[in-house]
């Protein structure tokens, strides 16, 4: 039996339950989840900038590998 999600539920899960009662389920769930995810991703932007190497583009340019199998 596969391990269920180990991460804490994202806010989208609660929002999902609320929106299901009001609107046609499938479309609003996808839209609602999409919105929540977009907000999460927005907050992520700063973190990505922090995490990316200062010279990320330079590093990528220099990243060359030998072909493998």
């Amino acid at each position: 039996m596969a391990q269920k999600k180990t991460t804490k539920p994202t806010p989208s899960k609660e929002a999902e339950k609320e929106s299901q009662a009001e609107a046609p389920p499938e479309k609003s769930t996808v839209t609602e989840k999409g919105k929540e995810l977009a907000e999460d991703l927005d907050k992520l932007m700063d973190e990505i900038d922090d995490v990316l190497e200062k010279n990320a583009e330079e590093f990528v340019k220099n990243y060359v590998q030998k072909g493998g199998e």
Binding site: L44, I48, V64, K66, E69
Partner: protein, 495 residues
Amino acid sequence: MPLRPFLMGSETEFGIGCLDPREQNHITNSLRLVGFCPDLPAPDCLWDYDGENPLLDLFGHTAEGEREDPDPYANRALNKPQVNGGRLYVDGAHPEYCTPEVTDPLDLVRYEAAGERILDASRQMAERASGRPHFVLYKNNSDGKGNSYGYHENVLVPRAVPVERLVRDLIPFLVTRQIFCGAGKVGVENGRPAVPFQISQRADFFESLVELNTMVRRPLFNTRDEPHADPADWMRLHVIPADANMSQVSTFLKVGTLALVLRVIEDDALSGVPRVAAPLDAFGAISRDLTLGPTVALEGGGRATPIDVQRAYLESVKAYAGNHPLPGAFPEVVRRWEQILDALQADPLSPEREVDWVIKYRMIDTYLQHKGLPWDSPRAKAMDLQYHDLNPAKGLYHTLNARGMVETLVPPAEVERAAREAPEDTRAWFRGQCLARFGKAVYGVSWSSVLLTAGSGIRRIPTLNPFKGTRAIAAPLFDGCAGTEDLVDRLEAGG
């Protein structure tokens, strides 16, 4: 009657970079990196190359070439057998990790994740030694400049299954599976039609249908015949077109569906699968169409979507499962497979917590829109590469995971355990036990052998049967075992 156990394993070649501009030789870097691997049970343990023969193909031909046979000094530098039964080593110019043999797709996920831990631990040791970050490691398949390295799946298939049937029935599955396990890639390589982003990292590099070699004119179906088991009984199907995945759900589905489809093919029970007219074209066309439209040309005319093709396989597997209760996590594979196909059908960008290419696409797309940057900007390529960085502090997959934005299947504590303990239900257990208990007295290992220093000599214990040497069978050998001589005695006494 219960199904014969499945048997599988994966091999991952990692990309390696060095932050010291003076150290840019990949072979040297790979050797140094694996040399830093901590907690080795037997640091001088050799790999036994006697059983290796990558020049033999499934049609019975032997290719020209030299078989690998490094001297002991090189052998020890290249190979770092792991106490979990897996293999860390240097393959060409890449560090490579092979999982131990497992019977279950969730174990495959666990042991692959364990490999990432082992590689990252080695990276950290090198950092400690040099006083600053030194190596960078990527679990991906391309440098973005036309050089690809592989992720290989291995599944044990009975020798009796005709190779022609495998080729015919597996290839449509292999070219369409990317829709739920492609790792995503910014841009294209190898002269393919330009797109901003594609589903598969590897599709650009596949140029033939059926071939023995794995490095040029890569084939959808690889015919290497090196079973590491009794060749009269078994083939080890060596599957090379898939991407390495960061997402555990993608890995779970990738390998779980492959094993199930192969079992159905073995039973000759596949039905309703569309005949794909040009699989190589389809492989690339599917990769470059994020809408998952009808890009698969069919024999006799007409087109199908990759979802259509996958559904046909799913239906055959479901019918098979109706007659043969599936073991372990396999029912979960089937359930999730259907769920993900439904999700992709509704909106290809909806599995944003499970499917690597979707996770990556959404992350980069949002970032580019925020910054007003185009898809061909260097920043996009940087994010693509850094998605796969093994360093939890630097990797973008790990950043998303830390924020709870992706789904995982195996908790970190289990991953740690899988780095230290072999699976119990294959011969990996015997190999791991020998390493854990006898340490330096293990002279060498391979998939199909363990060599022990015993008394005044070296004893070679064949482990040709992947289903023997399990904990259930072999535990008594180790109970109260006094050492390698004792183990050898017990084996000779009929253990």
